[in-house]
């Protein structure tokens, strides 16, 4: 199952964990160092769960659909 994720820009601390785990979905902005979702933001549910769990700023969540 695919799920869609989002980044809360307020709580992102710029650790880059998400960029390491899912480089096609997250990229740290060059200027701000804050994570951005690129592309569709869709991930398999298990991988989404992992990246949400690993985020130190608790900044990644599923979008409500």
């Amino acid at each position: 199952m695919m799920v869609r994720i989002q980044v809360n820009q307020e709580s992102c601390i710029g650790s880059g964990q998400c960029e390491m785990l899912e480089e096609e979905t997250f990229v740290l902005d060059d200027d701000t160092g804050i994570s951005q979702v690129v592309g569709t933001g869709l991930l398999p549910a298990d991988r989404a769960e992992k990246v949400i769990d690993m985020c130190p700023g608790r900044a990644i969540s599923l979008t409500e659909t």
Binding site: E10, S11, C12, I13, G14, S15, G16, Q17, E19, M20, L28, T32, G33, I34, D53, M54, P56, G57, R58
Partner: protein, 420 residues
């Protein structure tokens, strides 16, 4: 505000720094992990709740709103308000201050950007190992574990390498400051500041602040492509982003954390490899194990043994109800041996899978900034040792730091031999 426990305390003692001269008191932690709820621990200026199980450390680490880093102190003892303010770094802040400070330095330490330093780390490591092999034996800490990380962090900061020795010396005095005694007088290094206003209550912090100021001044006048330049520019562009006190404390933190903790991991890693030759042989036979061996070295070493938080409101943890304003201490050294998570936790296993150690903290916003730098340094050390087929043998017991905070090794004599 501190509520006394209803039942008689077990009176464990895991804070006496002299205990650590014989290593981490793992048996005491095992007893605390087996005790239901949280265990109350007496301490000089008021006790704390000891959090010793992996699951509870994890829960706490991830709830920074309830378990504050900005209130009281992140070390065991409380600080007066002015001291806390003067010493406040990334470690002792909550969001939004923490987020703002962290973002100023985070970019240099992302997994992706840390990879750019691999060649630098490799050159430094190779040089130190080759010198050590040529000597054949010596203190592994002085020969390899101390100089490696300090040279790397100083290169990143932009500090001249000839000052490395001085900064290692300062760092050793800082570790001492977490214990009960200081071997240097309060006015060492020309210090005139009250010790309680200095990180680790140490005059060495004054020296490190002063060094950082001098570096900052140099980079303000002559910007370079390094971390100090990016910090002083953040300070200059907009005073709201980084105050003078924040700069000093951040510089202090980067130097201290960038060398003391990784030095500890490398020292314990070397001892573990010497003490478990079968495990090192596994790595030599199959270098693809270096990644899991690195995580095992991290779990094994628990470089930072605890961090303290203070509750901002009433909360229940592990069945114990905590009031607001209570001290709660997460013992990573205990979580890293919790058999609820790790099979055979006292076995050093370079092939260990799903190694959810807490040597970089239990998750949450205070996750170690330098985690990927530390990993890189351990990986490269293991790779370069494997490439040379180096075997380490212990020549004696380590001299451990008398600290309940950093699992430090001051020296450990070893023989090194390249076996073809």
């Amino acid at each position: 505000m501190s509520t006394a426990p209803t039942e008689a305390p077990l009176s464990p003692n895991v804070t006496d720094a002299s205990l650590y001269l014989d290593g981490i008191p793992y048996d005491r932690f095992a007893e605390m992990r087996a005790t239901p709820g949280l265990v109350w621990h007496d301490y000089h200026d008021g006790g704390f709740w000891a959090v010793t199980r992996h699951a509870d450390v994890r829960t706490m680490s991830r709830d920074a709103e309830v378990f504050s880093s900005a209130v009281g102190h992140t070390n065991l003892w409380d600080l007066e308000a002015d001291a806390l303010e003067a010493r406040r770094s990334l470690i002792d802040t909550d969001s939004p201050d923490h987020t703002r400070l962290r973002r100023l330095v985070a970019r240099a330490f992302t997994p992706k950007n840390i990879r750019r330093w691999e060649d630098t780390v490799r050159v430094i490591t190779a040089e130190l190992l080759d010198e050590f092999v040529e000597k054949g034996q010596g203190d592994f800490v002085a020969e390899v574990a101390a100089p490696l990380p300090i040279r790397v962090i100083l290169t990143m900061l932009g500090v001249p390498v000839e000052d490395a020795g001085y900064l290692v010396e300062l760092s050793n005095f800082l570790v001492e400051g977490t214990g009960e005694t200081q071997s240097i007088p309060p006015d060492a290094f020309g210090n005139t500041t009250e010790l309680r206003l200095l990180p680790f209550n140490s005059p060495a912090s004054h020296a490190l602040f002063e060094y950082g100021e001098k570096m900052g001044e140099m980079r303000r006048n002559d910007p370079q492509d390094d971390l100090v330049t990016s910090l002083v520019q953040a300070e200059a562009e907009d005073g709201d982003r980084l105050s003078g006190s924040e700069y000093r404390n951040l510089f202090h933190l980067l130097v201290f954390a960038g060398n003391e903790t990784t030095r500890t991991a490398l020292s314990h890693g070397a001892m573990a490899l010497a003490d478990h030759p079968d495990q090192w042989q596994r790595v030599l036979d199959d270098p693809s194990l270096i990644e899991s061996a690195t995580e095992e070295v991290l779990r094994w070493s628990s470089p930072v043994m605890h961090m303290r938080r203070t509750t901002t409101k009433e909360v229940e943890l592990a069945g114990t109800t905590l009031g607001a304003g209570e001290k709660v201490v997460m013992w990573y050294s205990s979580a890293n041996r919790d058999d609820a998570v790790f099979d055979d936790p006292f076995a050093f296993d370079v092939g260990r899978q799903d190694n959810a150690h807490f040597s970089f903290g239990g998750g949450g916003p205070h996750l170690c900034l330098g985690a990927y730098l530390a990993r890189l340094e351990i990986i490269v050390l293991l790779e370069e040792m494997a490439k040379r087929k180096l075997h380490l043998t212990r020549l004696g017991e380590p001299v451990r730091a008398p600290s309940n905070f950093v699992h430090g090794v001051l020296s450990v004599d070893m023989a090194v031999e390249a076996r073809a």
